[in-house]
């Protein structure tokens, strides 16, 4: 389910079936890294949208969490922990964060949700069909991870 009124209404009526939250983490940088952070945004958005199509009925794709990239990660981490608390209070049993920002990997142990780090692929330099098959295979990998997690805690 996407963050749109129709889907959220569906969620409210079918809560007992929806136990998974997905939050994309987007770094926002300036200067030399500005373009790279835009590419990450593009890539992760594509991935999470495709993922949502596969798993509409069991997950909510939340609005992405964007943060200013200024060296230290403590502030973004603190805020994300806040999100995590709310998600858990609202009965999302499985929480997944999806990002291309490798700095999160260091913070993984502080989070209860699963951190899925997807290294950025140079989509700009690919043609449409290459892009589609690449994204397709990445989404497949994510799907497997999700179904595995679901099975573990059945």
């Amino acid at each position: 389910m996407k963050w749109i009124p129709n889907d959220i209404e569906m969620y409210i009526n079918a809560k007992e079936f929806v136990d998974t939250a997905v939050v994309a983490l987007h770094p926002v940088s300036f200067g030399d890294e500005m373009k790279q952070s835009a590419s990450m945004h593009d890539f992760i958005t594509l991935l999470t949208n495709q993922l949502e199509r596969q798993f509409t009925g069991r997950m909510v794709l939340f609005p992405a969490y964007s943060y200013l990239k200024k060296g230290r990660m403590d502030k973004p981490l603190e805020e994300l922990l806040e999100w995590e608390r709310s998600l858990k209070e609202n009965e999302f049993k499985h929480i997944f964060y999806i990002t291309s920002d490798s700095d999160w990997r260091m913070q993984e142990s502080s989070l209860t949700g699963a951190l899925l780090w997807m290294p950025l692929l140079p989509l700009e330099s690919m043609d449409e069909s290459q892009k589609v098959s690449l994204i397709g295979s990445q989404v497949k990998q994510l799907q497997n991870l999700f179904t595995q997690k679901w099975r573990e805690n059945q």
Partner: protein, 168 residues
Amino acid sequence: MSKHRVSRRQFLSYTLTGVGGFMAAGMLMPMVRFAVDPVLRAEESGSFTPTKQKVDELTSKPVRVDFTFKQKDAWYESEVTSTAWVYKDDNGKIMALSPVCKHLGCTVGWNTSKEHPNQFFCPCHYGRYEKDGTNIPGTPPLAPLDEYPYKEKGGYLYLGQAKPRKEA
């Protein structure tokens, strides 16, 4: 007398809501036009989208066919990719089924559950369907998978808009 008072109060409230109402009407009108525009209607129901699938390569094993078409909404035209599971049934008739689970809309796979081979399987709440799309009782979905109308043109498969199936 009292009737008159009520209607005057109503009038006041009407004029007050009228300001907002007027703005809402301004926003709604174009949307309504979009919703009923006969040109858009015709396009929705009548058009078939070409796929890359050759009809004579279809077998009795369901294959995934992706196809892309343009969809208009109030703001922009976007490319939408849809998927169908396509195969030939025992009588050689083509079946094109929508992969959208009738429970809550996840994408079903063919033959993806080891315990239940040769069925469509939904990973979300383990809904299952027979090969012909019929939902299997005791699993969450309450209706069979939607079916795409199809056409053959120059050896290729064309698909229309998926429609709910009438019970056989």
